[in-house]
Symmetry: C2
Subunit: 196 residues, 2 copies
């Protein structure tokens, strides 16, 4: 995609891209939408190949009213057995889950399922990059929490500890993801610092 | 999972595992089923973390007859924008599509969509392992065709060449995937030889 001045869309100067611009407020857009926009931008600018997996659905009945279109008339939502997003960045396997909460004081660990924790554990054991993106929507703050950290909180919970991660812990143990116009949740900026 | 003799399930001697055993015939099982069984086995034996992505569905209407269950009453199949399978093996990102054909003389390239080709191209550019598993169901033969090879055939097609890959080409340019009892389509055996 070219602009009239002949510059490519992703040729915007680094300075202007890194400048926080609060006029593009994030409020109102869901975290999922923001991540989809970001991934699309990463894909178009050839930075990474990361996609959201389709919602898992158990299909029960399908009608074929004509040759061209099949209509699913009975189906149920299934619980995901893995995380929602995965892909490839700088030659590495990347895998993450995204959650938002309206809670102001903590992130409830019940938002992450057992089998997702198991999956994250496997990814880390096999050398993948694994993390969670968590948004406190009331504050419009989005954090990247590394998989290893999440697993520590989870282990603590299983041993009778807290069932949630206090908001204040995110300030210390997680990384706030910058908000940009194109890369609305520019998590790769954090990944670059943490893993490369 | 342990056997009565104390040996782990995946500790079967290499010799017996590599011996072809035609009593476990593949006929009747779909390629998708076989790959799912294989991926499950890889997961349970901690060899790799590779999953099939859910079928992409456009959900239009959802009914909530009671609090516990949501019923999808209108939905449509969407075309996949990526390949069907991806995951992590020996620290590398792995991505593939699987197709079977009843054709005895060639594999029609129309079975692979443009955007899947584009996706495979991106994966290769970003350093991922990318391939296609193609089964000629009449012969009960399953081949691994490397992404680079598939792209060559595709490019040739776009330049007015053949619209299919002749069966005989698979004998020369692809790798037959061994059939085993647990790893019904043991494609990682080929990946080990090609990429590590």
């Amino acid at each position: 995609m070219n602009y009239p001045n002949g510059k490519k869309k992703n040729m915007i100067s680094k300075k202007s891209r890194l400048k926080p611009n609060h006029s593009f407020s994030n409020r109102g857009m869901s975290l999922e939408d923001d991540i989809n926009v970001t991934n699309q931008y990463y894909l178009e600018t050839n930075r990474a190949v990361i996609h959201k997996k389709p919602t898992p659905v158990q299909i029960v009945k399908v009608n074929y009213p004509n040759r061209s279109a099949a209509v699913i008339t009975e189906a149920y939502f299934k619980q995901a057995s893995t995380t929602d997003y995965n892909g490839l960045y700088r030659g590495k396997y990347v895998d993450f889950e995204a959650k938002e909460t309206k809670n102001k004081t903590y992130f409830p660990l019940a938002n992450i399922h057992d089998h997702q924790i198991k999956h994250m554990n496997s990814i880390l054991n096999h050398g993948g990059i694994c993390f969670t993106i968590i948004r406190f929507s009331t504050f419009d703050e989005t954090y990247l929490l590394q998989g290893t950290k999440l697993l520590e909180y989870w282990k603590d919970k299983m041993n009778g500890g807290k069932k949630s991660i206090p908001y204040l812990h995110f300030k210390e143990n997680a990384f706030e993801i910058p908000f940009k116009y194109q890369e609305r949740v520019d998590y790769l900026a954090i990944i670059d610092q943490l893993y490369f």
